[in-house]
């Protein structure tokens, strides 16, 4: 870190800070300028040490040097991580398509969707039975009743399943019927939940919170990685901005940035990013062009009858068409679909 002293900090005050740096076990390198003195301190990234020094009299700002995450960084693991979701490799040469309805609503709806998304070339079937709805007056998911539908779909379709986990107490129940746990955007900083999936022996997909910076996302997944679970996929799904034409603003730059600073695979969810089905094709293509390892797309046999997120769900024929349209973009990006 670099400690920038206030212009009015006198020699005694500066000495005091230097002493504290030494007390914390670091080596201070003061540089005396005309206006400010700065003290360079190499080798630490803990918030605690920075907070301690920031709290001292005479300190204007403490600027971190090291990125605030460790295990997710390219520095500790230069080569890209490939996460295996059952037999689907995410983060390799092939593009991965996760598709399905937002929520599992019925056997009919879920199996129908599974059949056409598989037919169209999707690799993993999404479908949640616990839904984090912003209002308790809205449909919350099928809960227990949905577990057997997940199992049925996995068996009949022979396709890996991804489902959202909201509560640490549900992990055990969901474990037998899912191939990867999804942590939703609203739970990206639910550290109790992250720590719990960090103990699981199964891949985890972590969605970026809508007000989370890229650094926040990489710090949050440290909670999973530190538990020993290294099978983590990141998902960009839009951030909250002043623009109201879209539900969220897809931060397309997050894709190349995460690929550069982290070894973990990153996919894009154009459905939640936009909130509107007609925008999904353009954003899907942009995501592949920007270097995403995959997409997570919502589709429903009859969007207007969907209990959740109908407006952003593609109709079956539109999903199938999109899968075809994506191929040349995957190819242009040097990938395979």
């Amino acid at each position: 870190m670099v400690i920038i002293m206030r212009p009015d900090a006198d020699a005694e005050v500066i000495e005091h800070v230097i002493g504290k740096v030494e007390e914390l076990g670091f080596e201070p390198h003061p540089i005396y300028g005309v206006i400010n003195t700065v003290i360079a301190v190499i080798g630490d990234r803990t918030q605690e040490a920075m907070d301690t020094l920031q709290s001292m009299p005479g300190v204007d700002r403490v600027v971190p040097i090291l990125r605030p995450y460790k295990l997710a960084g390219r520095e500790v693991k230069p080569e890209a991580t490939v996460v295996n979701v059952a037999d689907v490799a995410v983060g390799g040469e092939a593009i991965t398509i996760i598709a399905g309805p937002c929520a599992v609503e019925s056997r009919e709806q879920y199996l129908t969707t599974g059949r056409y998304v598989k037919q169209a070339g999707a690799h993993i079937l999404r479908g949640s039975i616990y839904k984090p709805r912003t209002s308790p007056h809205d449909f919350q998911g099928l809960h227990e009743e949905g577990i057997q539908l997940l199992a049925a779909a996995r068996e009949e379709l022979d396709m890996p399943i991804i489902t959202e986990v909201l509560d640490p107490r549900h992990i055990e129940r969901l474990d037998p019927v899912t191939d990867i746990f999804q942590i939703g955007a609203r739970n990206m900083q639910n550290f109790a939940l992250l720590a719990e999936v960090g103990q699981a022996n199964k891949p985890v997909l972590v969605k970026r919170g809508m007000s989370a910076t890229i650094d926040d996302l990489l710090k949050a997944v440290e909670y999973v990685l530190v538990g020993g679970n290294e099978q983590v996929i990141l998902c960009e799904r839009g951030i909250r901005t002043f623009e109201t034409q879209t539900r969220n603003t897809l931060d397309i730059s997050a894709v190349p940035i995460i690929k550069r600073f982290s070894h973990l695979p990153v996919i894009v969810d154009p459905s939640h990013a936009s909130g509107e089905a007609w925008l999904v094709p353009a954003l899907s293509k942009a995501a592949l062009a920007a270097g995403a390892d995959g997409l997570m797309i919502e589709t429903h046999p009859s969007p207007q009858d969907a209990l959740v997120d109908g407006p952003q769900s593609l109709r079956p024929e539109d999903f199938t068409e999109l899968m075809q349209e994506l191929k040349p973009f995957a190819q242009a990006a040097g990938r395979r679909l």
Copy 2:
């Protein structure tokens, strides 16, 4: 809701939407304009019905009319709710001051703080033993060890205690030692947790998430209210914006807006909003001037030794001085401190 049809929607498409409105059990009122047709639909606020109609061909937008929350609204309960935290009434004529360290670190630190905040006139002692840190490499709280410190402080100081709950599995353990549960900003949309404290027979303070709109906050507390727990206090603590001089941007307007649309008490946390101790006095005064029912302020016997949030913690003498300075502002606002 009001359904705005696209300019190119023809009579058949419009009829189809009108039919769907009737099928959903509502009465449609179409108004045929020169450019667009609009269909007014009175009496519903569920996201499902709006999503269904938004998903139909020819629909441009669906605009809600009713506010998206029910139980928290002034419409259902015009008079202000007063929440009793042990013997402290929050939301009445008196201003409530919650103060203390961010985290309980030791018996010495916690009791010392409790003594001087009580002496200075604070009403409720804060102190968390589970801390939601953005990085797993930072101090996470004392956990079990802290429970007896909370109990000790409550007994010695005869002051109500507020502590944060992160995990639904901790509620039972914390229940005997706390007088009010705090839901932190990062968990404002952790609906599993909200539903659980909705079952508790104890007040709950819900902090606004850093990317949550005021409507989102009021929708989230419906999860608590719907469970039967009506003892809810809201807390504005800053939102995430592009401005980086402060940790968050205190949305001071949220205070009068919440007071107008909801019957629940609202307090302000100037410490997390600003992230810097020197800003806390100005923001505290502004909060009282804007009509807040109370403040939640961080203070530490020695901020530079704090394990969490030192830079935003007031020194004991500064806290005591602020308590004095706040009095004329409380009085100007027609309140008592």
Copy 3:
């Protein structure tokens, strides 16, 4: 528009608003609900009428129905506009590449750049001689001295020139040496300037302001269109958000949204959006994939010697390589480069 009355508005208050609607010359359609009354008013989009009604007692909100722009909308002109910049058609089947340094610095620097960008396949040469720098202590451009350099480049390279205009008093001077006027993001709501280029007989490129919504951008270009100048190109260049890894957040969704609601061509500036040269290739590809009509890319013979925006300028060899890499993406999008 739709006027939503407050739940406590009584019959007399409602009648008063209905009377005002009639007085303004519109036909009111009241719909009496259980909680609120709403009054539909078809056929107007002026802010004045909405403000008048919003100011009346008993009115909760006024919701616009029509989009707030006219001349830029697809409704008035369904087919796409093609803007001719000298002999370069922007908005047709071919992708347009605008490239060059941020600022014209010297004859050597400018002609060198012009030569390699033309060689690599760019269509229009950018280069500004008036620079809107956030600080007056930074380089402001060559001003008068630069005019002959623009003229020299245009003649030697036989390439259309785009340059930024900051002040209505400069239009006359720049007119002989430029083929298209650029209105920068900071001047997107400098209406005096927009009105002035609306009188010019030359294309105009308008960049989206960093806090402008898509609607704001389309409203701003009405100032140009209403003056009779219909040769307008829009440019998405990133918006201001809380994410600090990039200088701005490229709002990639703006591309398909503008293409749907407006007939004007839209290009993307990945250099200003990201602020970092290494991000430019990924964002350029994403822009073409999302349907952009062109790109505006900064490049400099020696970025580390650039007087302005060096960090986001591509090196000559990187620009040339990018031009090659873009081709399959243009093709995948059904375009030509």
Copy 4:
């Protein structure tokens, strides 16, 4: 500045950057860490030098140390500046109230407003004759016709006048009838205009742009100060965020921050910040509590007949009542009203 090198930068690359620092005339202080090397460079704040170094191979980030403005900073002038608008001192012990309609609409409307705001105790009368409307289809102001109305009001009421200037060409015309020039939020980075009022011999009020950081605002006013005009007042009027309940989000923290880092007076405009008249009293009180030197409040004899911004204009009786209610808050803040 501090230059943070990438972890993979080798000795040769680091030497190259050190050489460049020396070439630019600064003294480099490299500190070799385990992961990164950092190079401290004292004594410069120009964007150019930082951009140059940021553009070099091996450089990860360049972190500024000095604040990016000079003349507006407390470092160059520790004591507070008092700006005299005719005989009204802004920034001293007394609170200054600027009030009036958004736009001058007619003699009747303007003089009526002037009379009651003066009667209620306001010090400066606002009123613009050039209005920056987001749409060209809305009322743009009285222009030339309004000049004599400004003159008439100033003479009859014996009150200083503030009016907005949009175009450098209007300064000469407005100069005889105004006592202070207002630069609106949309023009905060219209540097041609700022430079022009920097040449005027008259105070200037600069409003913060809706996407401008506090640093941006202080950098922008350097354009005025560097021209020799030191009579500058800053105005916080809300920033653009994701919250839609208010037109903008009043950044109340900007008040104490500007007061700490700059010697210039700062006032708050609660009318534009909120966009709703009923919020103005709470925000006005909060502004005084936070330390503002004054307020700029919109009021209109009949808000529902206002041509501009009716919804945020106070009725005469509400304005008069607010002036009374503000007194105890001014007093609590150690000021006078």
